[in-house]
Amino acid sequence: MIATTLLLFVAAALLPVAIVIFTPFGCTADFARSPGRGSGSVVLHWLSPRLVRFTVDVGQGGGTLFILGWSRRI
């Protein structure tokens, strides 16, 4: 009984670690270019589909940085 409880506790403690370790991280870069205009974005994802998102629009000038819902025009 005690062994089973301990095992359950250990499994519960290790589960978040396993989720963090095995969740893939990576980035997706998109770009589009047409005469007189270009835009691009880079999205970093890990545990969240959009952990960090950076977009830039050359034709319009400037860019926007999104980090987990927080956004700022740069």
Binding site: V20, T23, F25, G26, T28, F31, A32
Partner: protein, 204 residues
Amino acid sequence: MREPEPSTAGAHPPAAAGRTAAPEKKASDKLDLSDGSDESDKSDPPASPSARVSRLHRWMFVFRKVKKILAILFDPRLSGRTIRWLRRDLNLLLHLVRIHHIRLTVTAGVGDPAETGMLYGWYIALRDVVLSRRPHITIRFDPYFGGTMLEAEGSIGVTCSIARLLLAGSVVLIGFPWLTFLSAWRRLGKVRREPMPTAGEAVT
């Protein structure tokens, strides 16, 4: 107007003065900074021969260490294992980052319809050969015969994971032929620092 202080600020210690002159030099530097006088324009004295010899000696020691490590790595008894280990690591590195997808759509025209048609022909010829076995790579080319134009749109996604990084790191560490390396290291002997020549010997 302040009068120049009769201190050792202007007189830099001679180059070959040795270690005892170092604190005086530091004090003079501090004075120069606080005064902001013309003395600060003077450049630092050139490095003494003993300092140069010491630096050369240190570099020679590093060079001999590197030479020894290279000799061990390319030792006939170890080189086969080292090359196998390197090949395995390279293979791991290539599979560490996975390409999730590559998408590229290009609409282009070079002005001359004939040349645009030739480009499109090259694309059609290469498309099935290169891309047929890679479903996650999509490259599309639409010719534009009406003039010069370049429109492109694309996306690339790469993924990795901490588990994969840890696995690769542990394979690199565990897979290295440590025992053979250590035995070769002991066989070749320890690289020792030779006694430093004195300043007089270095000048002569």
